[in-house]
């Protein structure tokens, strides 16, 4: 009889980073226990023990061994359960490198610019960051067209690494669009990305994993209120 593997995922429900390993685990049909970290409370003992360096979610614990950092976790899931489900990373070394390159671009350049644009009080800084965000989307549009080669996803016929990386931000993006009443993903500027976004969110696996846009929008509103009341008290 096969021993049941212990797979635990520590996350927070709305975090794009936590969504990534969830999608990967579902793609590979791996059973796991999900542990929600208390967003506004203190960090759990398990989290502090499993990720002493950064103390952040998500963390995957597989048979008591912790793996940290969302994209690292996705690669680990792909390599560990490599005989089940589809391959998440491309097989050719150069294609793998490209997938990692664009993921690094999203995480290190594009999303930080978006984050800055949202939280900064300076109009100048906001305008500059938004410019970076828009330019980044155009670059991602080009990357998508070149990598997908006419198929629905960066990964081709099925969802792959880069889809998971960028796709995990889609619900947050749409929630922000709802909150601000401004379009971030514009069909006239990035038509292929918009189509990809629709395909990604309606995918069978993704649909059951990502949070509802409405809930995230409500949550963002709550965060703003908290930030404002904290600022007025200080």
């Amino acid at each position: 009889m096969e021993e049941r593997e212990e797979v635990k995922l520590l996350g927070v429900w709305y975090s794009p980073y936590a969504i990534r390993p969830k999608i990967a685990l579902h793609l590979k049909s791996v059973e796991y226990d999900y542990v929600e970290e208390d967003l506004f409370g203190s960090k759990s003992e398990l989290l502090l023990k499993s990720n002493p360096v950064h103390k952040k979610v998500p963390v995957l614990i597989h048979n008591s061994k912790p793996v940290c950092e969302s994209l690292n976790i996705v690669e680990y899931i792909d390599e560990t359960w490599n005989s089940s489900g589809q391959s998440i990373l491309p097989s050719h070394p150069h294609d793998r490198a490209l997938a990692r390159f664009w993921s690094a671009f999203v995480d290190n350049k594009w999303f930080p610019a978006l984050k800055l644009a949202t939280i900064t009080k300076s109009e100048d800084a906001k305008a500059k960051s938004m410019e970076e965000v828009e330019e980044g989307l155009l670059q991602l549009e080009d990357a998508f067209v070149s990598i997908s080669k006419g198929k629905s996803f960066f990964g081709g016929e099925a969802i792959g690494f880069m889809d998971i990386c960028l796709g995990s931000f889609l619900v947050l993006l749409k929630a922000m669009e709802e909150l601000k009443g401004e379009k971030l993903l514009d069909e006239s500027k990035t038509p292929s990305l918009c189509q990809w976004g629709g395909e990604f969110l309606s995918d069978e696996t993704v649909k059951n994993v990502v949070p509802e846009i409405k809930k995230v929008a409500e949550f963002l509103r709550e965060l703003e209120v908290r930030a404002q009341s904290a600022a007025s008290r200080s």
Partner: protein, 224 residues
């Protein structure tokens, strides 16, 4: 069977740890390559053409494929030339190597370089914070010759190029003893082991030149 014509070019910079670690990997695997030195900060049109997004070294060109970013290049080299593997085979060990490599290039670089130079909370605090991070690495290499085990691997190349042969030169220039033997016996032992490896030795930037370069960069930051 005739061997396919391989053409490997590396655009690099003598003082860059990111560039040097790629050379370590190519040398370890015995891959012949043409090295093109960038005269930074004067970037060549070739560099700007090959890496338009980030405009940085290193860039590897393998036949018609172009790759920027040292971590990506190291993984690509490992998957393409399978002798002397540099990444662990086990998925968990691999994930750990990638985690620590990111930690070095982000946390350690940021604390051990910029934060130290800017010293907003004072030099002593910056040193303490850097040493706290280095202690994580000290624990990772206990009882092993290298982070990779008995032979050098991906993490040794990342850490080696960054810490002893780049950051340590800055610390020297600033008169800081960041990794004293009594506090970091394992890291010191690891550095000694590293210097015995030919592929590493050939990729150590000349010491005085590197100290001068790092000190100059620090002075520039401090003056702005």
């Amino acid at each position: 069977m005739a061997e396919k014509e391989e053409c490997v070019k590396l655009l690099g910079f003598w003082g860059s740890p990111f560039s040097r670690r790629v050379e370590m990997a190519l040398k370890l695997k015995g891959v012949p390559y043409e090295y093109l030195e960038e005269d930074l900060p004067n970037k060549t049109s070739l560099l700007l053409e090959l890496n338009p997004l980030h405009k940085k070294v290193p860039v590897l060109v393998h036949n018609d494929k172009v790759l920027p970013e040292s971590h990506l290049i190291l993984e690509y080299i490992d998957q393409t030339w399978k002798n002397n593997p540099i990444l662990p085979h086990d998925p968990y060990e691999k994930a750990m190597a990638r985690f620590w490599a990111k930690f070095i290039d982000e946390q350690i670089l940021s604390l051990g370089f910029r934060s130290l130079v800017e010293a907003e909370k004072g030099r002593e605090v910056a040193i303490e914070e850097t040493q706290e991070m280095l202690m994580f690495l000290e624990k990772e290499v206990i009882g092993q010759d290298f982070f990779g085990g008995k032979t050098i691997g991906f993490l040794d190349m990342v850490a080696g190029s960054m810490i002893p042969f780049c950051l340590a030169r800055l610390w020297e220039g600033l008169g800081i003893d960041m990794i004293p033997e009594e506090t970091f016996p394992e890291l010191n032992r690891w550095i000694k082991n590293l210097k015995q490896v030919e592929a590493v030795r050939e990729c150590i930037p000349p010491r005085d030149k590197q100290v001068e370069r790092m000190t100059k960069i620090a002075e520039k930051i401090m003056s702005t």
